[in-house]
Symmetry: C2
């Protein structure tokens, strides 16, 4: 009927028995009449083991050699999965990144895919073979082995699906679809059946571990329908992720997310002159510190203040940088606030429906939850609240936007004990 690309992560192929289970899922799709390309990660803790070996050799291993080392993990998986498929009487063939021609930039340990050759893939598919491809790895035009970095195997699968113009890319994982909430906050959590790329991206950025944003971005770019589904419940269809244009109906708010891993920094008494914000954020950017929410207050008496949030683990570095640039920035006091949570509502439907933000603020106010900062994007509204209010905020927002039985609440960082 069509071409289906399947992707299985390291836990799905952690031992020979699990590899046989994956073979069953692959064969099931083949028996549906589809051409099947399977992308797999390294078995279980293989990558961790290889990294440990390298660290025993040297504290500072060369990134080219790390790629040479780590790419073996996926090569073991593809050989074993291919054997398992063949042992069921199906034709199958394994291919590493070099053999497929997954062409990347020459940036070791975090290369980006620039091209995927399809001639050999199409040749094997025409021969009726199931193709098992090593995820996470590629090759430069010069034949150097590269790896794709975090989210690499998902990205390999989506990119191969795009190159083959596949009908769908199924990401098999240990959850049943796109939904992640702390069951202490919202009981009876259910998964979404359909969600847009954009919503998934916003949810992923605040902490959904289901899919790396990079793979969702690639799927969005090439309009590859993605399905997140369970390796253990093959009959479960999981969550379909598609373009907004392809969605027939959607709620204005698809999910509620909380991020408790940020801290707020407030710089007061800044001169109200052009270039001040540029100095502050330029200094942080130079040291690779990502800033999330930013608010600049209205100027009073020629003085200004700027508040912004950074990841908690970047706090010490950020303070050091701000201190060393103090004279240059002409900053006054620097205050930090660690007891914060960013609560966001996400939904592709917001763009057409005015009043969603007002509804959010009203719902929080009715629960006496104070809003410290606000930021908005096309499909997301985020409010910074006190960390102790995060649970209540999620609950009231789920209720406000009718998500109680179908909510997507994504939590990053540790929520306060209830």
């Amino acid at each position: 009927m069509g071409i289906i690309v399947q992707k299985f992560g390291g836990t799905s192929v952690a031992d020979p028995q699990k590899i046989h289970n994956v073979a069953k899922a692959v064969i099931k799709e083949k028996n549906n009449g589809n051409d099947v390309v399977v992308v797999v990660s390294a078995m279980g803790h293989t990558t961790d083991y290889l990294i440990k070996l390298a660290k025993e050799i040297t504290n500072n291993p060369d990134s080219r050699e790390m790629d040479m080392l780590l790419s073996t993990g996926e090569q073991v998986s593809i050989a074993l999965l291919t054997m398992a498929i063949q042992s069921n009487g199906y034709k199958a063939v394994s291919m590493n990144g070099q053999q497929v021609g997954i062409i990347t930039e020459c940036i070791h340990s975090k290369a980006r895919i620039v091209d995927i050759k399809t001639d050999k893939l199409n040749k094997y598919l025409k021969e009726g073979k199931i193709i098992v491809v090593a995820g996470f790895q590629g090759v430069t035009p010069d034949g150097e082995i590269t790896t794709l970095g975090r989210g690499g195997s998902d990205t390999s699968a989506v990119a191969i699906a795009a190159a083959l113009k596949a009908d769908r890319c199924d990401i098999y994982t240990d959850v049943e679809g796109v939904y992640a909430t702390d069951p202490r906050i919202v009981p009876n959590v259910q998964k979404a059946d359909v969600i847009s790329y954009e919503e998934m991206l916003e949810l992923a950025r605040v902490g959904a571990n289901v899919l790396h944003p990079r793979s969702v971005e690639t799927a969005k770019q090439f309009n590859v329908p993605l399905r997140v589904r369970s390796s253990f419940k093959l009959d479960n269809l999981g969550t379909l992720i598609i373009g907004v244009d392809n969605m027939e109906i959607y709620k204005p708010v698809a999910g509620v997310a909380a991020d408790c891993s940020q801290v707020r920094i407030l710089i007061s008494s800044l001169p109200d002159i052009p270039g001040t914000a540029a100095k502050v954020f330029g200094a942080l950017a130079k040291h690779n510190i990502s800033v999330d929410m930013i608010i600049q207050s209205l100027a009073i008496d020629g003085k200004n203040s700027i508040a912004f949030t950074v990841d908690a683990q970047d706090l010490d570095d950020a303070l050091k940088i701000l201190d060393s640039e103090k004279d240059h920035i002409q900053s006054g006091n620097i205050l930090t606030d660690k007891d914060i949570a960013k609560v966001s509502i996400v939904g592709a439907g917001m763009v057409d429906r005015p009043g969603i933000a007002a509804d959010m603020f009203k719902a929080l106010a009715e629960k006496n939850i104070n809003i410290k900062m606000i930021s908005t994007s096309e499909i997301k509204i985020s409010c910074l609240v006190e960390k102790q209010n995060a649970n209540d905020a999620i609950k009231v927002l789920c209720k406000e936007f009718g998500l109680e039985s179908k909510e997507i609440a994504v939590v990053k960082g540790d929520l306060p004990n209830i």
Copy 2:
């Protein structure tokens, strides 16, 4: 000064500490002013582990997928050794079989090398880099990964040395050179300083585990000087293996070898007509059973008998085949003799010196050792004796040919208890 190819086996790179030791040996050669290419095997028991994994998937794994699987073992080693060399401040780069261009036939699990590309190797050497190459593996012109089978890594090293016109190929191992004897038979055993390819081949065929005959044959073909030396005693020069033409002097007999792993089969009452021997050995060859010594007795009354030796583990199969072909061969009784040992003297000097065979037979006779069969080649004379006489035969032959303090006695199979 020149190009040296070094080869280290799996036990030499079994763990990070041992890999650092190998790095020292590599750097020592680099510091001698040489360009260095290092060929390594998979770490310790990695290959066994991977084979076990495959067997847990299926009893009958596809040989292409086995090659895909096993070739990862060497790729791990090259990455780690390269890191170890770099951590000492030396420039190094790893290359797998595909990256070098070790081109082989497309016969999985036992491919033969047909070509080795030298452009990338020479480029890296010109840049002053130590090159670490994965042994045991190659690639077909179509990009299929192959492995070279038994003795593969030694063969990789020798073939690379030949392609680069290297000055020498050093095979590092856990022995100090070419010599292997049971110390219970000849005490104070010493290694040979120099030995010819031909002598090494004859000794290897009867059981020296030091070097696989295939690598010696390749070295002989391309006249690559080989040095077998210890990974643990880097100052020890080991044994140099070179062409006879390059040897200044040599003794007529370089070594004495005993092979206790064979059994003798005697077929009596065969018709004395052309084609009988062809029928017998054709049937065995068709089932891949190698026959070593062969003697056909003189015909009496139009009947003949043929005696030959096979490896003990092939005995049952050989008897089955001979039984099933009984009518075709028109054979009479089939007798077997398991208590035999093949004692050989080996020496490139024999060819010019008549009387060596007679000296051998006389020495054995003086010890009352009966000779059951004899076979000869250009540089080897082998006598089949009763197994219980093997130790005495080795001793008396070492004495006869002045090898007592410099003997090379190679023993295969279990010698009888003394």
